[in-house]
Symmetry: C2
Subunit: 500 residues, 2 copies
C-alpha cells in the first residue's frame, strides 16, 4: 500500500489556515453530535518514527471538547500487562458510547516494533493478525467508528528529523536507540509495515495513508478524513436505527421459535440419573481438592492463567460447584466474578468489555458465575439485543476465547444441567428455607416459563461454541454430589494435561 | 501492643467445628444485610510471615457469597504503581457500597516490609503514618467498616514453619529470601510492627491482635470479630440514618445562610478591571506557551506529576483557559478530566475515589475541569451531602492534596472569578450564538439564582483549603485575555520554581 504513495504533496500556509479553521468548526460540531447519538469513535495513529504523530494528534484534538476524548500513548507492555493477552490493555481502553479514544501507536505495536525487536514470535505473529482483525470487526460491529492513519515519510526525511532532534538537549532524549535502529534498517521495517497494512486493511476498518513529509498537508488530510467519516456516520445513524428496528420486528419471531422435529438434543441427552452416594462424594471430593490445591500452586509457578465459566439453569448448582472449587484454592490466586445485569458504564461499552476487565493474570484463576454467554441466552430471548447481534456473537465469543487460549490460558465452560422437575423441587425447597429464601426471586419463576425457548437457545449455543481450545462440559446436575465431582474432575484433568 | 499477648491460646477440634458452623451461618446472613444496607467493609490482614494469612483468609471467605467480595494480595509495587502516590493502588481498590474488600497485606507494607527493606525513607515514613491514619479516617467517616487483624507468632514458631515449607518442593518456593531475613532479624522487624500498631490504632480503625500459634483459635477469633463488628454496624445503621436525617433538618438552614456583616471577602476583593489588549495577549501567550512546552518535556524527564484544578463560576472561562494550557502540551503527557455529576458506580464509593482513579502518573499533567471541591460547593448547597460530610471535607481534601504533594506532585487550583453582570452577558452571548448554545442549560440559569449562597461557600472553601503545598489562585476573569495569561504565568512560574 505504500508503493504508490506520492510523498511530495504540500499545502501553502494561507490555504492551510483557512481550511483548518473551517474543518475545526465542523469537527467540534460533529463531536457533539456523536456524543448525543452515543457513537463511540476510535482513531489510531501508526507510521514511521518522527513522522509527526504527537504534533498531528495535538492539532486534531484542539477543536475537540476535552471532556469527550482520551489520548493513549502505547509504549512497551508494563509488567502487569505482560501477564495478560496482548489485547487486554486495548479492550479495557475502548471508548464509552459517545466518546473518542485516540491511540498514539496501538495494538499494531505487536506486529511492528515488537516484531522488529524480536519480542513477537512467528507463531504469535500469525495469531496477532487474526486477533487484530477480529478485534476491529467486533468493535465496528458493536457500533464503533474506527479510523486508522498510517503516517508515511522517507528514510532520508526520518534521518533528517532525528538528526535535528539530537542537536538540541531538549529533544535529544526523545530519539531512542530503537528509532535509530529502525532508521538504519528502514527497508526491513518498512516491509513489516507493508505486510501489516495489507493484512489489516478491511472494509470495516480501512487504513488511510497520510503523506507526512509536509505537516500542513498531513494535518488537513487527517482532520478532513475524520470529519468525513464522522459526517457519514452521523447522517447514517438515524437511518440505521430505523432499519434495525424494522428488521427486528420481522426477525424476532424466528429467534424464539422451536421447530418441532428438528430440536437438537444436546441437553436432553444428558443422563440425569447419574449419582454418587454421600460417602463416595466425600472421599472423591477430598482427593480432588487436594490435587487441585497442588495444581493451583504449580499453575502459579508456571504462570498459566485459567478461566472457568459456569452457566446453567437457575438453581442448577453453579454456586455450590464454584464453592467446592474455591475451597481448596489460595485466595490470593483466584477471583470469582459474578455476572449480573450490566450497570450503566458497562452498557455504554461493547458487551465483552466488562469481561476483558476481569480476565485473569498469568498464574491466576478466574471463575465466572454466569458469563459472556448471556448474549446468546437471556439477551437473545428477552430481546435485549438484535437478532443480528446475537447471531454475530457466536463468532465473537469463539474469537475471544481463542485469544485467551493463544495467550496460554486454560478455558473451560460448564453447563449445569437439571430437568424441569428438579428445578421446581429446588425452588420450593429454597422458599421453605429462611436461610435460602433470598436466593429465589419472582424473576426465577418467570424465566422458568420460558424453559423451551431457553433450551433451544442453549442447544444452539453449546453446538456453536464448543471448541477444542474452550470446550463446553455438560454437567449432569440432578444429583449435586455427582455434579460437583464431575466439575472438579474435569478441571483437575484439564490442568494435569496442560502441565504435563 | 504485642507485649501482653498470650500466644499459648488454643481451641479443641470439636469446639472449633461447632463454633465455626454457627459463625459461618451468621456471617453469611450479615454479608447479605450489609449488601442490602449498602455498607462497604474493609478487612485487613497484617502480621508476621507464615502466620497463616492465606489459610485464614480462605476460612473467612468460605461462608461468603463470592459475588460480594474481593481478595487483594498486596505485593511490591508494579512499575505502573511506582509512578503514583503509594495510596493510589489502595484508594482505587476501596469497595463499592455493600461489598467487602479483603487485603492480604495492605498499605501497611509501606511502614513494614518496605521500611525493613530500606525502600521507605525516614521522611516518607513520617508522611506515611499520617496519610494512613487520614486514609482510614476518611473511609470510615465515609461509611466503611474497617477491621484490621494483626497475626502474631513467635520467632521460633515462624522458623519452624519456614523450615517445614522448605522441606517440600511444592511449598519451598513460597518462602522468600526476605522472609528468612526478617526471621533472622525478628526483633528489629517486630519493633517496626510494634511502632506501626501504636501509631495506627485508632478508635475508628482499631487493630485486633490474633494469637496465630493455634490455627483453630485464630480462625474462630477472626470470624467472630468480623461477625461482632458487622452485627454492631448493621444494628446501628438504621438508627444512624434516622439521626442523620433529623440532624440535617436542623442544620441545613445554617449551611446556606450568609450572615450579614461577617461576609468574608476573598472573592469580592478580586480586581476585575484588570485587562490585556489583544496584542499584549497574543505576544504573552506565544511566549508562555513556548516556555510551558519546554517545561512539560523537562517534567516528563524528571518524573514530576502535575495536578491543575479549575473551578469557577459558570461561563467563568475554565474551558478557554484549559485549552490555552493544553495547546502547547504533548498529548501523550496530559489528560483533561471533566467532572460531571457522579455516575452510579462513583456514587457507590467515597467521593474522592473517582479522582484517585485519574491522579496522574509521575511525569504527567492532569487538568481537572471542575474538581473534588464540588463536595463543598454544589453538594453542600444543593444538600447532596450532610452538613457533617461537607464540613469534614475541608480536612479530607487538604489531606488528599498533601498526599499528592508528598509524592512529588505540583498541585495548583484556579478559581476563575467573574462578576454577576459579566456572567449574564456571557450567558446571553452563548444563547445568541448557534455554535455555543449547547454550552448553556436551564441549570446554569438556576445556579445563577443561588449566587450569594455559592459566594459564601466559595469564600469559606478558598480560606480553608489554600495551603502552601496546594495554593488557590484567584483569576480575575472579566477579561478573558487577562485570565488566560494569569493562569499560564502561574503554571510556568510554579514549574520553573520546582525544577530549579
Amino acid at each position: 500500500m505504500l508503493e504508490k504513495i506520492d510523498l511530495t504533496k504540500k499545502m501553502g500556509k494561507k490555504e492551510f489556515k483557512q481550511t483548518m479553521e473551517e474543518l475545526s468548526g465542523k469537527l467540534g460540531t460533529l463531536q457533539r453530535e456523536c456524543r448525543n447519538l452515543k457513537i463511540p469513535v476510535i482513531i489510531v495513529f501508526e507510521g514511521f518514527g518522527a513522522a509527526g504523530k504527537g504534533t498531528l494528534i495535538n492539532q486534531l484534538i484542539q477543536p475537540l471538547d476535552p471532556r469527550g476524548f482520551n489520548v493513549y500513548a502505547i509504549n512497551g507492555e508494563s509488567d502487569e500487562e505482560q501477564l495478560r493477552p496482548f489485547l487486554w490493555r486495548f479492550w479495557t481502553k475502548t471508548p464509552e458510547n459517545g466518546r473518542i479514544a485516540i491511540f498514539d501507536r496501538s495494538w499494531y505495536r505487536r506486529v511492528l516494533i515488537d516484531r522488529f525487536d524480536g519480542l513477537t514470535t512467528e507463531k504469535q505473529l500469525g495469531y496477532a493478525y487474526n486477533e487484530i482483525v477480529s478485534f476491529e470487526q467486533q468493535l465496528t460491529d458493536g457500533g464503533n467508528v474506527m479510523i486508522k492513519f498510517f503516517l508515511d515519510i522517507t528514510k532520508k526525511e526520518q534521518k533528517k528529523r532525528f538528526d535535528k532532534m539530537l542537536e538540541s538537549k531538549e529533544t535529544a532524549w526523545k530519539v531512542s536507540k530503537g528509532d535509530l535502529k529502525r532508521n538504519k534498517h528502514f527497508a526491513e521495517y518498512k516491509m513489516m509495515n507493508e505486510e501489516m497494512l495489507q493484512k489489516t486493511d478491511t472494509d470495516f476498518a480501512p487504513w488511510t495513508i497520510i503523506e507526512a513529509m509536509d505537516r500542513e498537508y498531513a494535518a488537513v488530510k487527517i482532520i478532513s478524513t475524520v470529519v468525513d467519516c464522522l459526517e457519514k456516520r452521523v447522517s447514517n445513524q438515524k437511518e440505521l436505527e430505523r432499519l434495525a428496528r424494522e428488521e427486528e420486528k420481522l426477525e424476532n419471531v424466528e429467534s424464539v421459535e422451536v421447530k418441532p422435529g428438528f430440536k437438537s438434543s444436546v441437553l436432553s441427552s444428558a443422563d440425569l440419573t447419574l449419582t454418587y452416594t454421600k460417602e463416595e462424594y466425600k472421599e472423591r471430593l477430598d482427593e480432588l481438592q487436594k490435587k487441585l490445591s497442588l495444581l493451583h500452586s504449580e499453575l502459579y509457578r508456571r504462570r498459566i492463567p485459567v478461566i472457568l465459566g459456569f452457566e446453567g439453569w437457575d438453581a442448577g448448582g453453579k454456586g455450590g460447584a464454584i464453592k467446592r472449587v474455591t475451597q481448596c484454592l489460595d485466595p490470593r490466586g483466584y477471583a470469582v466474578n459474578p455476572t449480573a445485569a450490566p450497570n450503566d458504564i458497562e452498557k455504554a461499552h461493547h458487551y465483552l468489555w466488562r469481561f476483558w476487565q476481569t480476565f485473569p493474570k498469568a498464574g491466576h484463576i478466574a471463575l465466572y458465575d454466569r458469563t459472556w454467554y448471556g448474549r446468546v441466552m437471556v439477551e437473545r430471548i428477552e430481546g435485549f439485543c438484535s437478532t443480528q447481534e446475537w447471531k454475530r456473537a457466536y463468532k465473537e465469543i469463539n474469537d475471544c476465547e481463542a485469544t485467551l487460549a493463544h495467550s496460554g490460558a486454560v478455558v473451560l465452560k460448564f453447563w449445569m444441567q437439571i430437568d424441569k422437575e428438579e428445578q421446581e423441587r429446588r425452588f420450593k425447597e429454597r422458599m421453605a428455607n429462611p436461610d435460602k429464601q433470598w436466593k429465589i426471586t419472582d424473576e426465577d419463576w418467570r424465566n422458568r416459563e420460558k424453559w423451551d425457548a431457553y433450551e433451544a437457545a442453549v442447544d444452539e449455543m453449546l453446538i456453536r461454541t464448543s471448541t477444542t481450545y474452550a470446550p463446553w462440559i455438560i454437567v449432569e446436575g440432578n444429583c449435586k454430589y455427582y455434579a460437583r465431582i464431575k466439575v472438579l474432575e474435569t478441571i483437575v484433568k484439564a490442568l494435569e494435561a496442560r502441565i504435563k
